[in-house]
């Protein structure tokens, strides 16, 4: 009743192949966009302070959704497992920092996108072993990337301009007369920029995945030898997946430092973060764009809320709540894997199917 295709006739193949073939989907996306662009900036989330909503929930969730999209492209669509996501975010952040130092007058959005491209190149280099090895063995190759890059962020002082703190820090950047990044920028401005980038990147990802490149990734994922036999080149397919995924991850790393944290050190990019991003993908659902949103939101928001509620309502100390949220993540992943190995995205699909048949399921 809420969700049905009856009466929606397609007269062209293009309409059939559209990203949102159903009118309900179009309406749903429009509503979500209105909520994100209008309602949340005006009203915030009920019951939570404005600062908390923006700084601790909305902006990080959007940034991590970009990360999750990137990792999902690699893991969910191309089937190449990676534990180096944290370090690749670092590549994005550090290269954005370097680009901003070398070209101080460049628009920050261009810096962010350029840093995504730098990360894509680095990701391609570290993706080279994937041509020869796969599965669990690839984990080791990506861990090599993770630990090597972490080491580089500490030892190569050029990356952080030889400053004493060893970290990178954002400065105030203006765009159209507004301070968009840095210590004096307004959370709302940053919110809109991150949101807009997220929408654009999602649009790009959904189209690339439906296209020729995306289908070649999925063929490699499902069975690489068979894909090779019918003419998919593993070299281009795998490396393009690494490049595309790293592009997203790099952009999210740059956004994380310059639009959310303000400053960062190597600890923000360590291997435990790589695991968190992996969790976002698994819990959200491998190979699903909607899942990337849900996974990032759940894995980020629930621990934050647990900590906040534990602190303000029950008065537990931070140490206990920190551990509790770690346990929660672990339990969540085990339960999701047992109940529905395809993640929240599959649960959403099932719900949609139910809504389609309601109130007369056969």
């Amino acid at each position: 009743m809420f969700y049905r295709e009856t009466g929606q006739f397609k007269s062209k193949y293009r309409e059939e192949l559209a990203a949102f073939p159903l009118a309900e989907d179009k309406v749903g996306i429009a509503i979500l966009l209105v909520i994100a662009y209008v309602f949340i900036p005006i009203f915030g989330i009920p019951g939570l302070s404005y600062e908390f909503t923006m700084g601790a929930i909305m902006i990080p969730v959007f940034i991590f959704t970009i990360t999750t999209l990137g990792l999902n492209i690699l893991l969910g669509f191309a089937g190449q497992i990676s534990l180096g996501t944290g370090a690749f975010m670092g590549v994005g952040a550090y290269s954005c920092y370097k680009i901003m130092t070398i070209f101080p007058d460049l628009n920050i959005i261009i810096c962010v996108i350029l840093s995504g491209l730098v990360t894509a190149v680095v990701g391609m280099i570290f993706g080279l072993p994937s041509l020869k090895i796969k599965g669990f063995y690839l984990i080791v190759a990506t861990l090599a990337a993770q630990f090597f890059l972490e080491w580089a962020f500490i030892r190569v002082a050029w990356l952080y301009n030889y400053n004493d703190s060893g970290g990178i820090e954002g400065t105030n950047k203006e765009m159209f007369g507004l301070i968009v990044s840095g210590p004096q920028s307004d959370a709302l401005t940053r919110y809109f920029i991150v949101l807009t980038l997220l929408v654009l990147l999602t649009w790009l990802a959904s189209n690339v995945i439906r296209g020729r490149i995306g289908r070649s990734w999925m063929m490699i994922r499902d069975m690489d030898i068979a894909a090779e036999l019918i003419g998919v080149r593993p070299l281009t397919a795998k490396l393009s997946a690494f490049a595309f995924s790293s592009f997203y991850v790099g952009i999210s790393g740059a956004l994380m430092v310059f639009f959310w944290l303000g400053a960062a050190e190597v600890e923000s990019f360590d291997v435990s973060h790589s695991f968190t991003y992996l969790f976002m993908v698994i819990i959200g659902g491998l190979g699903s764009i909607t899942g990337s949103y849900m996974g990032a939101a759940l894995v980020w928001v629930v621990p934050v809320l647990i900590k906040e509620i534990g602190k303000t309502v029950f008065g537990f100390d931070a140490f206990v709540m920190e551990n509790f949220s770690i346990i929660f993540l672990g339990v969540a992943i085990v339960v999701i894997l047992i109940v529905e190995p395809h993640g929240l995205a599959r649960l959403w699909q099932i719900t949609k199917q139910k809504l389609r048949l309601w109130p007369f399921p056969y």
Binding site: Y137, L143, F147, W151, L229, I282, A332, L337
Partner: protein, 318 residues
């Protein structure tokens, strides 16, 4: 030219000029390698018997060391604490089998692997909550291991052998022999190999999968305890051990996922390789290369032998 000299000649000149330092480095690498090998052994045991790539082995090592020290600090005598830890690991093995593995029978290997990552997080959170996150010293003397060090003068210098490292090496060897005998001669060992070969065939001849899994997780727990004791003696007992535990992954790559002797030999290759590289080539890059060099060794191996030194040959059919 200078850089070529620094890479290809200077380190060897240095090795020849100070052989005592070189032997010391070899010994340190050997001990570290034994411990890497022990962690890898835990992975191999579980992978052999259930096909689960158990990502939580490093955290099991941390848990073993941490709980042992904590029990002792609560006033339990040292050896009783060891027994308590063993009981705890048996309970853990049972719980893991009952709550996680049994629910995931017949699932894809990736899913099982990811569930052990979830288990890792549960253990991290619980262990930090219960035992606290403060690093503490391992109770080596209380367990009766010899302390002090042997000094062996040679080449005008001297090489130091820490007694605890010597005992680590000895116990590692004993344990590998016991495990090898256990796997090849006992009834349970035959059962384990049968399960590894084919789950269904093993079930059909009356081997209980569930029991085998509990046993193998328990054995992996014992290995974790031994590793934890000796690693805790070398550095403090803290969650930082977990990062070191990741080094078992390159070890597995080199040794192969299913070979017990491969785990040890892989461990030695990694331990020696990274120590020698750190000491003689590390200064060229700025120190700290130990953090990633192991993975590079593994990558080089992978490019030539994707199944590891002793691993079974991979055969793929379309």
């Amino acid at each position: 030219m200078e850089i070529l000299y620094a890479i290809f000649i200077a380190p060897f000149v240095e090795m020849g000029a100070y052989p005592d330092l070189f032997i010391q480095a070899l010994w340190d690498g050997f001990v570290a390698g034994t411990l890497y090998g022990l962690i890898a052994l835990g992975f191999v045991l579980i992978f052999k018997a259930s096909g689960v790539f158990n990502f939580s082995q490093p955290i099991l090592v941390v848990l073993a060391a941490l709980s042992l020290v904590s029990f002792y600090q609560m006033g339990v005598p040292a050896w009783i604490s060891v027994i308590l830890v063993l009981i705890m690991f048996y309970a853990l093995a049972w719980l893991v089998e009952r709550l996680i593995l049994r629910q995931l029978v017949n699932q894809d290997g990736n899913i099982l692997f990811m569930s052990t990552i979830g288990l890792t997080f549960i253990i991290i959170g619980a262990a930090q909550w219960i035992f606290g996150g403060v690093p503490s010293a391992m109770i080596v003397d209380e367990l009766g291991f010899p302390n002090g060090s042997l000094e062996w003068p040679m080449f005008g210098g001297g090489v130091y052998f820490e007694m605890i490292d010597v005992s680590a090496a000895v116990i590692a060897v004993i344990m590998i022999v016991i495990l090898a005998v256990f796997f090849s001669k006992t009834k349970i060992g035959r059962g384990l190999r049968a399960v590894a070969d084919d789950h269904q065939a093993a079930l059909s001849v009356g081997i209980s999968l569930n029991q085998i899994w509990v046993i193998v997780w328990f054995v992996a727990g014992i290995v974790a305890l031994v590793t934890g004791i000796f690693w805790g003696a070398r550095s403090d007992v803290s969650f930082a051990l977990q990062i070191i535990g990741f080094k078992a992954l390159p070890v597995l790559i080199i040794g192969g996922f299913t070979s017990i002797q491969g785990a040890i030999i892989g461990g030695l290759i990694i331990g020696l390789g990274e120590k020698i590289f750190e000491i003689y080539w590390g200064p060229l890059l700025g120190s700290g290369v130990e953090g990633w060099f192991a993975y590079v060794i593994a990558l080089v191996f992978l490019l030539y032998r994707p199944q590891g030194l002793f691993g079974d040959k991979l055969i793929e059919r379309v």
